[in-house]
Symmetry: D2
């Protein structure tokens, strides 16, 4: 058993559903079982940059059900400002890592639980190694691209929200005989797009991992039409790449005056080539903000408990992970190193192809096994 | 009792939730009670332009629960092409009203039920008067701007979806200390925006009916901040007008390269003036497409029955209407004539002001009664 | 303008969704507009029986979104104990009305907002008249049986939950070829049953207002079968009465060892007579407890504001009411006096019959108008 | 590659959400990729008992989105009648297995996909071995008690519905200071109860795998009260066992006139001992019947594809299984043999204890690791 009296916890990177449930579980376990103090750091590492450092002392209240179901993070978060390349007032970037480490020690913390995705965890780990911080990590990412774990907090809720949007677009697409395009999050990994696409019965799914051919997409729409389906649903990740290696991202599309981002860029092309009436919806921040799904609440709770136990056992630099119905733990390093894109030979891609969903691939992949 | 053997039904204008439930009710009543044939015209008046006219013979099946809960319209609809100013192949517009009327008579219809909003109903009424069509109308509009009825099909579901989006944005706005802006439908009437804004606890609501002052909006955000609330939720209709009478619509904003439409236009301004971090979500077509709410299903069913009864009674040129817990009927003309904007002296505006919600008004309206 | 400095507010009777939204609106209006103090009385009139009286001082906080969406009532409520016939320790009942009135005056309240249904409002009005309490009422009842208002807080959410249950039972009924029976709330008025029944596509709806014939019900199930629909959905209010005037209530059925209450009582009969496989679900308290629907939140907010304004205007003994898109006010007396059962000649009953839904009526009502 | 021309598919046992999505996927894969015929057997093995055997020829239609989202099974199912001990008209039971096998061969099927839980799969496997049926299995069970797979169709949706009910009961429990008891499905395994209990923030969870002590439960409620939480949420599986080994099941409780089943039995005890006001809700069949969650739709689709591929590969007597983000396959025998109760040393039980949730265990398990 490690000699622990006070721990800190922070949520880092984009918010998602289930963060508060994880913090709640940490407080339960740390206070009730171990008798520790818990400090909730404000706005990720930014709270540690303040002097005095900003935090909420987190105590056990008899009824904290609200935290279980509340989306976002009541600790606050931020995604501006890598401590190692921090935007300074003079326009340059500076290294403020020492200030953060100092903030941690000023609070008298014996360990820190960091909840974040791969970017945040890499930064937190670097801070931990540099500054002697006893770090334990909890994975969260709506993109589901962290390695070494089957689940991360926030993904299930995001897929639910995206699928619900696909469901709704079906009705209006069919009523108006349109190609409806839904742009969802996923800059580097297309897990939301392909999961919600299969679950929602999309006709076309574009993900960052697979280069698409506009010919193939238009051909698919025409084929559907020939078969008597006069509408189509297309779900696209926010960054895609065509067969010539030309990337199109949400931001890039916007800078070219493509309101609707990647979706609109594709819609314009499809409309020109096929004559189809197209409409674009960018799902945006609603993907992050819902009441967490029961699965996300359960995962977050189990992760919060297990992360606290890792501290009690003095097993630092590790991340809790979901594998085969159980929470286990892995080195943080391995989770970051094994970035998890959509597996091109995995079940999702295979299932999508088998269902006749067009993934934009230039060559029609033979369906037989 | 009118001598009726066969009736037609069509859904016109933008699709919404509850249309199929209304068609289902018409079929029940017409077939079971009156023994009529029912023809479902394809794609609004477009089905009547085809030769032969396109329609689905609608029969009673033992189990048609699916129709009750399915969004959109299985008859199809379209919002391109006013029959009186129809886009012709040569680029001009032509009057194709006689063709539509002819199509109606070719089908041997004794009466027609038209489900539509004010635009569609005005066109249908003109066709009816010109061509001897026995028309009965059912109001549908997610904008809720039809006069002479408390309810129209589709509005309740649209408000539910918009409110759900506001709920979700709360969490992410609070987590990141942002001003989150949600753009919803409502080109001329702000019913969705003000209803979902009050129901979702928005801080600022902009509707077409009230000219806004950017000073006032920014002042409100600053005041919230001073009081300790470091985020804000703003819901805006897709067309708004500032205190100088300058209009900004979704389309106009896009043509100025404001991805995100009106919302983005406002976000840029707010961000520049207050320094707040802003994010925009355009809810778009998901507002139309959900499974109808129970209220919309009930309204649609009651309307479908009552519209069929009007035909049986030979009372044409009338629209069914919801008033004080009951379905009554009114002249179609009155429903179109009394366009229903958000009442500036009505309960919604008064409630919003009383709750301290900023409606963008240049002058702070005194709160006391 | 009345000379007001401090008001009380209480929620009385069974809880429902939207109560907190109403209390929130009262606090906004009373504090921000009028500068009054607001005391939230604990557990209805029970808080006023305590010495000192129990209450929460309610202040304006910058962010009270949570109250808008939280079901139930954070003030607490109770439905044990009519003050005029209060269960005493010795087993008798006593009149404790004077104690409550004294409690009200001890708190130095200038007026009281009571949120309740017809039972609660009748008691509160009697207390007010006896003790010089300046009472204003806000209608809430999931049964929707209060007169003089089109809406009461909680009804829309309850109908949503009941309809969702009907939707779910459709699938399992059809899969197993069963008669599925759903028992919902409504001891004296069948608004939930008939609304959710029409909205959910039920085959049979039993409400307290219409005496049912078991012959007719079984005949209807057989007819459905003959037509090829081998399952049925039946929704029943918790108290029904057969054609011989024999009442069956949830409690009575239970005392006869009919688990599943009225639903089970009917199921046993149907099963015996038709041989159909039956299953019963008693929806119970989940009908009360959901997140309020947008409509309930909007209604509650508008009611809270308007009730506060009535106090400011010194217009007591009145209830806020929704009529034709606006909040108006009516004498509390009239709302209680005009108990609102399901109107046998109204739209709901007419629509149900027209859709071929069996209401249990001994004689098949001719469908033609 | 096996030489296949025509396959059958059936759904067996209690219905659940996602069955239709699995059938849809089988049809896609079998028809589009392999060019086979697909026969959907009516009402599980009962369709094969009819002469001629009853089935639906299943063809590919351009738009079968409806099947993806529809709950239950459109093929029908039944849970009366083990073919090896079939209830005969004379009151005895008989072996009708040969008739079923004959029915399979009459249809000229080359293989059969059976979707079921452990009971159904054991029967189907016995039929297959006896009659030379090329069987492939897809796991479905809302109880999640099948071995050798992380997921089975229907469980995620059932947990969502149960958790939603817990959420709703929180509000009404808190408003009335009650102990609210929710009885959910799970005769032998408590997965729904413990998952929804943790996800919904329940105070007490009883599952079949852990014998409970009434003393301990009442002590827990009293402790909560002492700490200032005057209400409690308790979720119980439909069959539980006390510390003396006395079993109480839903059916047994009913036969003792405990309407509300196990829940009521416990409620009576708690009420008597603690004086707490208790209320019971039996969730019942609504747990089965919802629109499938996105996760269930995705799982069902991937399973349907993979099961069809197993047939193409001639790999029979195997069940598709979800393991570590991928679909794999295992012997049907192993899935049945390794019945999966809630693991007493696993993550769920550990998490529940760590959160201070009472599992009814006679001895308070020390919280420290």
């Amino acid at each position: 058993m490690a000699d622990i009296k006070r721990i800190g916890i922070l949520t880092s990177g984009g918010d998602c559903a289930g963060l508060n449930a994880a913090v709640r579980a940490v407080v339960h376990r740390a206070v009730d079982t171990y008798g520790w103090e818990v400090y909730g750091i404000s706005r990720a590492t930014h709270g540690l940059l303040q002097r005095p450092p900003e935090f909420h002392p987190l105590t056990r209240v008899p009824d904290d059900y609200d935290l279980l179901v509340k989306g976002g993070t009541f600790l606050g978060t931020t995604n501006k400002g890598n401590p190692f390349a921090f935007p300074m007032p003079d326009g340059t970037v500076g290294d403020r890592s020492e200030e953060i480490i100092e903030g941690y020690h000023q609070l008298g913390l014996d360990a820190l639980i960091g909840i974040g995705g791969d970017g945040s965890l890499a930064i937190l780990r670097r801070l931990a190694q540099q500054g002697g911080i006893n770090l334990v990590a909890i994975p969260k990412t709506i993109d589901n691209d962290l390695g070494s774990t089957e689940r991360a907090i926030g993904f299930d809720t995001a897929v639910n929200i995206a699928t619900e949007a696909v469901d709704r677009l079906h009705f209006t697409a069919a009523s108006h005989s349109r190609v409806m395009i839904l742009e969802v999050m996923g800059r580097d990994a297309g897990h939301i797009a392909i999961s919600a696409g299969i679950a929602g019965g999309a006709d076309i799914i574009l993900i960052p991992e697979i280069q698409y051919s506009m010919d193939r997409i238009c051909d698919h729409i025409t084929t559907l039409n020939d078969r008597g389906k006069d509408y189509a649903i297309m779900i696209v990740a926010e960054a895609v790449c065509n067969e010539n290696g030309e990337k199109m991202t949400h931001q890039l599309a916007l800078s070219q005056c493509r309101l609707g981002g990647v979706g609109q860029y594709l819609a314009d092309n499809i409309s020109t080539r096929t004559g189809a009436e197209t409409r674009v919806t960018v799902l945006g921040h609603v993907q992050r903000g819902g009441i967490p799904s029961p699965l996300d609440r359960l995962t977050a709770t189990a992760f919060g408990v297990a992360a606290t136990d890792l501290i009690a056992e003095g097993r630092f630099d590790r991340m809790v992970s979901w594998q085969n119905r159980q929470v286990v733990d892995v080195p943080i390093e391995s989770a970051i190193a094994h970035y998890q894109a959509v597996d091109l030979n995995g079940t999702l891609v295979k299932t999508a192809r088998a269902m006749g969903i067009c993934l934009g691939e230039p060559v029609r992949v033979p369906l037989s096994v």
